[in-house]
């Protein structure tokens, strides 16, 4: 597998391999692309069919001659160019071709010439009309009389004729136009800013706390041969088997007793003590040659000095790993915050919580929700990309050992 082969067959295999990898990469990345594009869209632009990746904006026109101000620019079926709606609620007849009833021809009612012939469409007898389309006469029947809009062409001369059309057939002209205000809007109007700072605070506190307790505990387990150590370690090891769901009710009860519900402290203190982090640090400390520590002890350093001045600087990679894992955990955690931050006070919200509420079943402002989601996802992805080394090395050993 390590040998680079040549020849047409090998090339074909390689092309197929890359094609597969790229396909999977597209499957992975496409939702994120959709997210970014949606976060830059206008809300009306999201619910259009077919879906589009391009954030678009409706073009408008201001023409005092026609009395238009920021009027939407439309495109009409069967007509080239841009139009503006100058008058609504004009009477309009919806004609359909005899030979192809799917084709709709919308005209002022007086432009159809009634004949005395009839035809049968879907079991109904319909009178045949003659209308002029592109200079030729077409036989049509009148499906209904309704009201439509009077559309003024924008590109032609002032005397070019306005067109009557059903309003639902007129599509607003859209051009590329990202809406960056979504981000500032979600941060200020939806109170996501406060959630963001709360999340940052909780994340930093959890990461720092985890590092402190894990370094101390991991060092004790790895390097101090105290009585009862192995039994305690087994206890820690066993604790990994207990899933969080078992803990959630009693922990909630405990927070209730402490008066910590609906407070950020409930998201921090209980998660500062981590068996996993303790293992990670213990494993790393075990890997540092014992003599280095002994040298420090002989040099007269106390255990604490040895840990701080010798072991911790050497354990930087492990600490970085622990920090990245702690960051991801704290930043993305949802279940516990959902349980404990339960008053609905937006000032105690976390990003995940606020987003879940915003993007919930009764959500409006999908564009803002997506802007929030992009804001929430960017930091962990960036952290991952920068700290990849630690992930790839340690994901494998994260579970056990």
């Amino acid at each position: 597998m390590s040998v680079k082969r040549k020849g047409p067959r090998a090339t074909a295999v390689r092309v197929a391999t890359y094609a597969l990898l790229i396909t999977v990469a597209i499957i992975v990345l496409f939702p994120f692309v959709v997210a970014v594009s949606t976060s830059l869209k206008r809300n009306t632009d999201i619910f259009t069919y077919p879906p589009s990746l391009v954030p678009r904006t409706v073009t408008t026109v201001t023409d005092p001659d026609l009395g238009l101000e920021n009027a939407t620019v439309y495109e009409l079926p069967g007509s080239d160019g841009q139009f503006a709606l100058v008058e609504s609620d004009v009477p309009v007849a919806e004609f359909r071709r005899i030979d192809d009833p799917e084709v709709i021809i919308a005209l002022p009612p007086d432009q159809g010439v009634e004949t005395d012939r009839t035809t049968v469409v879907d079991g109904d007898e319909e009178t045949i009309y003659l209308v002029e389309v592109d200079g030729s006469e077409v036989e049509v029947f009148r499906a209904r009389l309704t009201v439509g809009g009077l559309f003024q062409p924008l590109d032609g001369e002032g005397d070019s004729e306005s067109v009557v059309e059903l309003v639902n057939l007129a599509t607003p002209e859209r051009v590329f136009g990202p809406r960056f205000e979504n981000f500032s809007q979600v941060v200020t109007e939806k109170n996501l800013g406060r959630s963001l700072t709360n999340t940052v605070l909780v994340t930093i506190a959890v990461v720092v706390g985890q590092i402190v307790t894990s370094v101390l505990g991991g060092y004790a387990f790895a390097r101090i041969d105290f009585r009862g150590r192995d039994r305690l370690f087994l206890l820690y090891l066993g604790s990994v088997m207990i899933p969080f769901v078992v803990l959630i009710i009693p922990l909630f009860q405990l927070m209730l007793q402490l008066g910590w519900t609906d407070n950020l402290v409930a998201l921090i203190i209980p998660f500062v003590f981590t068996a996993y982090g303790t293992f990670l640090m213990r494993q790393f400390f075990l890997g540092i040659p014992k003599e280095i520590e002994e040298a420090a002890l002989i040099d007269g350093a106390s255990r604490a000095t040895t840990l701080w001045k010798v072991m911790v600087p050497l354990a930087r990679p492990a600490i970085a790993t622990l920090a990245t894992f702690g960051f991801l955990y704290a930043w993305n955690s949802f279940f516990w915050p959902l349980v404990i931050i339960n008053s609905g006070n937006p000032d105690n919200g976390l990003l995940t919580l606020t987003l879940a509420t915003l993007g919930g079943r009764s959500s409006t402002d999908t564009n803002l929700v997506f802007a929030g989601a992009v804001l929430a996802m960017t930091p962990p992805i960036l952290v991952f990309l920068f700290a990849q080394r630690y992930f790839v090395e340690n994901s494998a050993s994260s579970g056990l050992k």
Binding site: M1, S2, L264, S397
Partner: protein
């Protein structure tokens, strides 16, 4: 012995602690402290006996009494041990004083509102975002400068750079304090610190700390004839203690408490908190099978309190299966289906992709990174995205299926967009897709680690034998990755069994919907615990779920012990 000691000059550390007194004097004070502690424990015991606090359930009352008794015994032992200069006396005294110090200090911080003040910190932070960023940049600056300096320690440049970083951090911090405006917090602090309870706990903490410091001293240790082994045990426990105490208080204790609660009819509303033995478990797990003469028979054929779970047609015989907690059983059924679909879907692609990524082709690291992204992006954001993708009218999934139907004759695209999330038949499948999409990248990386453990010689030998790529994959890669596969399967299953967040966001019209089609055990548990406030019953559900998960954990544990490390070294 004591006399000979007291004639020696007091060590320096003692001077600071106990001015104008030798170790003997200090030890007398320590004995006094323990006697006082024992007396206080008795008082606490009496208090616990007297108080008929409605809010305190019996278990906590018992706990308090046990705690007081233990505290009394420990203080007495410490007082005796110290006054008789027993070796264990110092150890007991140290442990007791230290624990009292920790408890009192935590209580003092609690009294001062130090913990809940963290919530206000969020407010301060939101008021001072810009200075906070300055502080962060400053710290990052210092870190980077330190890294540069580490490789070239002699160069003066990095050191100056580092100093500049600290300056930036300092300015940022000062600005932060001003912007965050801690005056409100400070005034609250001063308001609380004058309360008698706060002062009492603070004093207790200080006394216990002083006693700990004094007894910790090596010179004192020598008076008690300490050995290196004792010193090491004390040091080890001291280092572990922050971790261990937190672990016991926030993990081990609650877990035990949860087990206790699961045997209670424990509702937060009303006063009923009675011990009901295993009734919660019976309620959760009871099933009833009844044969019915006609299909579609209902509750009438089942025992009382049972609801219809499902109908079965077994060789022409109609069966009705009933359960007392239908929702929970449905959630179990769902999670089994979910496991059966989601686990293969997130493991098999990982196996295949990892085999490609393990080759030395160019760009593999990039693909690896890309595949990993979904598992770090955060489940809430991801679920929100997929909610939009699954949208029935304008969602991308339906659109792409439609386009595929236009292009490919064999894809039969429905005219009407599929309502993925609101249709009973597809809602769970949608969850499967999101779960698999999120987790396969992580599994791929796990597999990659397994690949590294496969000896390259195996591949070389197979190539010399003329084996083709597929054969090599089948006959070498897959068997060699057996342990990794086992590990990946187990961890993915454990994760899948606790499915919550994805469903919480995506399911409609309520979590677990439609019609419980996506109800998972954890959502059922959440509803019981926090919607219906059935904490006792929900705890029982948690332990049932734990038992199921434990089957998987135990399998992995057994395998690890057999020496197969799962290629995860």
């Amino acid at each position: 012995m004591v006399d000979s000691i007291s004639t020696e000059p007091a060590p320096v550390a003692l001077d600071a602690e106990q001015p104008n007194s030798g170790p003997a004097q200090g030890l007398r004070l320590v004995v006094g402290w323990h006697v006082a502690g024992a007396a206080a424990s008795v008082a606490m015991m009496l208090l616990a006996n007297r108080s008929g606090d409605e809010e305190l359930p019996a278990t906590i009352g018992v706990f308090l009494r046990v705690f007081a008794a233990a505290s009394f015994a420990a203080h007495v032992a410490a007082a005796v041990g110290v006054s008789q200069r027993r070796r264990w006396g110092r150890t007991v005294s140290l442990v007791v004083s230290y624990l009292v110090f920790v408890v009192a200090a935590v209580a003092a911080v609690h009294q001062l509102g130090g913990f809940t003040a963290i919530g206000s910190l969020g407010e301060g932070l939101s008021k001072a975002v810009v200075p906070f960023i300055v502080v962060a940049v400053g710290l990052l600056w210092v870190l980077v400068a330190g890294q540069i300096g580490a490789s070239r320690p002699a160069a003066p440049g990095p050191r100056q750079l580092r100093r500049a970083g600290w300056v930036v951090t300092g300015i940022g911090s000062a600005w932060f304090v001003v912007a965050a405006d801690p005056t409100g917090m400070l005034s609250a602090f001063f308001e609380r610190i004058v309360q008698p309870v706060t002062i009492a706990t603070l004093v207790l903490a200080l006394v216990a700390f002083a006693a700990t410091r004094f007894m910790w001293n090596r010179e004192i240790g020598r008076i008690f004839g300490t050995t290196a082994s004792v010193e090491r045990t004390l040091t080890g426990l001291a280092f572990l203690s922050p971790n261990l105490l937190g672990f016991l208080f926030f993990f081990a204790g609650p877990v035990l408490f949860s087990l206790v609660v699961s045997f209670y009819d424990w509702k937060t509303t009303g006063t009923g908190r009675s011990f009901i033995g295993i009734d919660n478990y019976v309620e959760a797990l009871s099933l009833d099978f009844a044969s019915a003469s006609a299909p579609g028979a209902g509750v009438e054929v089942l025992k009382a309190n049972y609801q219809v779970l499902m109908h079965l047609d077994w060789f022409g015989q109609n069966w009705v299966i009933g359960a007392r907690d239908v929702t929970f059983w449905l959630s179990l059924r769902n999670i089994v289906v979910f496991l059966a679909l989601a686990v293969p879907l997130s493991v098999l692609p990982a196996l295949g992709l990892s085999s490609i990524l393990a080759s030395q082709l160019r760009g593999m690291k990039i693909f690896r990174a890309v595949y990993f992204i979904p598992s770090v992006a955060g489940v809430i954001g991801v679920a929100i995205i997929w909610g939009q993708l699954f949208q029935s009218t304008v969602g991308w999934i339906n659109y792409l299926i439609k386009r595929a139907g236009d292009l490919l004759p064999f894809v039969d695209a429905p005219d009407q967009g599929q309502a993925w999330l609101s249709s009973n038949s597809t809602a769970l499948l949608a969850m499967v897709i999101v779960f698999a999409w999120m987790s396969f990248g992580f599994n791929t990386v796990l597999y990659l680690a397994g690949h590294q453990a496969i000896p390259k010689e195996l591949y070389e030998a197979a190539e010399i034998d003329g084996a083709r790529a597929w054969k090599i994959f089948r006959r070498i890669t897959v068997p060699q990755l057996r342990n990794t596969t086992f590990y990946v399967l187990i961890t993915t299953s454990i994760l899948a069994l606790q499915l919550f967040d994805i469903v919480w966001i995506l399911s409609t019209p309520q979590p677990g919907g439609p019609d419980n089609a996506t109800m998972t055990p954890v959502i059922a548990l959440y509803n019981e615990a926090f919607k219906d406030n059935n904490r006792g019953y929900a705890s029982a559900l948690a332990w049932v779920l734990f038992a199921i998960i434990f089957v998987f954990t135990f399998a992995q544990f057994r395998r690890d012990r057999e020496g197969a490390t799962g290629g995860i070294a």
